[in-house]
């Protein structure tokens, strides 16, 4: 029998060459190959450098323009406000919103309310998310669970979750539990649906491989099914975060004693437009931040996945 083609004559710790170069190990070509190590990278090196530079040179203005426009709008807004074309009780200048933010931070008002809101979102998400995950996992695995759970969830899901706000107020009054309920309701469905979908979409060929190597059922779930469902579950988490903030905006504008939604409602009473605008900006920033966190989670947990720029050694 011949030695395996992948071992080059150089010795046991031979570098595994590229697939295409291997069958030549016994021919005269192999000598040339060994004298030029990493020949592939040498020939490949020159072209990308000018290419990449050219791409960067072309890409730069676009990025600049994309940022210039919003900044320009902000400047125009500021100037119009200062020139009193826009009255400050209709729309305050960006600078005065900034000053308000600073003032409210110094008094501790803003951090208190912000913390209150974040806490609500976190608790509601924890309740709704874990319920969605558990129910979704059950439905994904068991026909019986699907028969019991799925249709009910599909029916409830048909109701826009904010439409039951009056009912929530009757049930829970103006206490915190009603707000948790609303956030939980908004986060349950996206996580449930995407968990079920993720489990159902796991490649049956990988499950078969699991059987071939003799993985017991629980191990199969842990090592094949759940990781396979993870991209879908994380997408569900991102959608749930969006819903959580939506629920919070509504829940906090109705009779909350604290929170940034309360800040906005309170400010409306006193026509403090700067505070209202500040709250709106805060909601936007929170939305952006949670999305960044969700994406960081995806990068961390889906490093293996070709769609998340991971997988590079």
């Amino acid at each position: 029998m011949s030695t395996p083609a992948i071992r080059t004559p150089a010795g046991p710790p031979a570098p595994p060459a590229d697939d295409l170069h291997l069958p030549v190990s016994s021919t005269s070509l192999s000598a040339d190959e060994s004298t030029v190590p990493a020949s592939g990278s040498v020939t490949a090196a020159p072209p990308p450098v000018p290419g990449r530079a050219a791409r960067r040179r072309r890409a730069l203005p676009y990025k600049l323009i994309s940022w210039t426009v919003p900044v320009l709008l902000l400047v125009v807004w500021e100037l119009l406000s200062r020139a009193a074309v826009i009255e400050s009780n209709v729309l305050p200048a960006p600078s005065s919103v900034g000053i308000t933010a600073w003032r409210l931070t110094e008094t501790g008002e803003l951090p208190t309310h912000l913390w209150e809101s974040l806490q609500r979102a976190a608790i509601g998400l924890a309740i709704g998310g874990s319920l969605g995950l558990v129910l979704g996992t059950l439905t994904g695995f068991s026909r019986l669970a699907e028969a019991i759970v799925d249709r009910n969830i599909q029916i409830i899901r048909a109701i826009p979750f904010l439409a039951i706000l009056p009912l929530v107020m009757v049930w829970f009054g103006v206490g915190e539990s009603g707000r948790y309920f609303l956030v939980a309701l908004g986060t349950l469905f996206p996580i449930y649906l995407n968990t079920v979908l993720g489990i159902r979409q796991v490649d049956p060929k990988l499950l078969e491989m699991g059987r071939v190597v003799g993985l017991p059922r629980l191990r199969l779930i842990r090592t094949v099914i759940l990781p396979g469902a993870l991209p879908s579950v994380l997408l569900g988490v991102r959608l749930a975060l969006t819903n959580a903030w939506l629920a919070l905006v509504i829940a906090e504008t109705v009779g909350a004693p604290a929170g940034i939604g309360f800040m906005a409602t309170n400010a409306r009473e006193f026509l403090q437009t700067d505070v209202i605008v500040l709250v709106i900006v805060l909601y936007a920033l929170i939305g952006l931040t949670t999305d960044l966190i969700a994406r960081a989670l995806e990068r961390r947990f889906l490093a293996w996945h070709p769609h998340y720029n991971g997988g590079k050694k």
Partner: protein, 230 residues
């Protein structure tokens, strides 16, 4: 040790498999001795994949007797590596924990991928991924190795290299092998016995060493498959 009385690794006696009205395996008989390499060829739909799946325990049989070793494993046409596990963990899957890493590393050394142990499967080429799949199979020290067209998706050069590797690995580990393939040349160059299948039965059984020449065996096999060379 006496050779004559040794029980075969695989014994299929009159096995039957039906899918609804259609009978895919018709009282099929097949024996594979320990350390013997059998290639199974046949047209699409003749039941060769069904037979392999039955031997792998992935599919049931509706009748007949089937004996296979407990330690059997499959290399599929696709590598079927878990993309969320690094290469070495894919090889070590379901091995006892203590020695898993070192055994996986040794298996990767054998297929020439020592320094890809910590790579993600997506970064591998088709041939490399299939070599990892081979390592995952061999690290289990199988008594029966089932190969389901494992080279079909590879380019010609990679396939030639894989043939050499498989020949070498199998001569070292000596499992019984059943290779399902479409490629007559591959069957002749790798196997000790080439078996053709037609309509759910074994149609012919050739010992490669008994053939006058590989070329004549090739012509004969092609004729059995309904291909007449011009």
């Amino acid at each position: 040790m006496s050779v004559a009385v040794e029980a075969p690794a695989v014994r299929a006696a009159k096995i039957v498999r039906r899918y609804g009205e259609r009978t895919v395996l018709h009282e099929l008989d097949l024996e594979i001795r320990r350390g013997e390499f059998v290639a199974l060829i046949g047209k699409s739909g003749c039941g060769k994949t069904t037979l392999l799946r039955a031997l792998a325990g992935l599919d049931l049989v509706d009748g007949g007797g089937l004996t296979v070793p407990a330690a059997s494993t499959v290399v599929f046409q696709e590598h079927r590596l878990l993309p969320w596990w690094k290469v070495w963990r894919n090889v070590a899957i379901n091995l006892p924990r203590g020695t898993a890493r070192s055994r996986a590393q040794a298996a990767l050394d054998e297929v020439g991928l020592s320094d890809h142990a910590d790579a993600w499967p997506v970064t591998l080429s088709g041939g490399e991924a299939q070599r990892v799949a081979l390592a995952r199979a061999l690290v289990r020290e199988p008594e029966l190795l089932l190969l389901d067209e494992p080279f079909a998706a590879l380019d010609a050069l990679t396939r030639i290299k894989m043939h050499g590797l498989v020949r070498n690995l199998i001569s070292r580990h000596r499992p019984a092998v059943l290779l399902v393939t479409h490629d007559v040349d591959e069957a002749i160059s790798l196997a000790d016995r080439v078996v053709t299948m037609r309509e759910g039965r074994i149609a012919a059984d050739h010992r490669v060493a008994d053939a006058p020449s590989p070329a004549s065996l090739r012509t004969q096999l092609l004729a059995e498959l309904g291909v007449v060379e011009q």
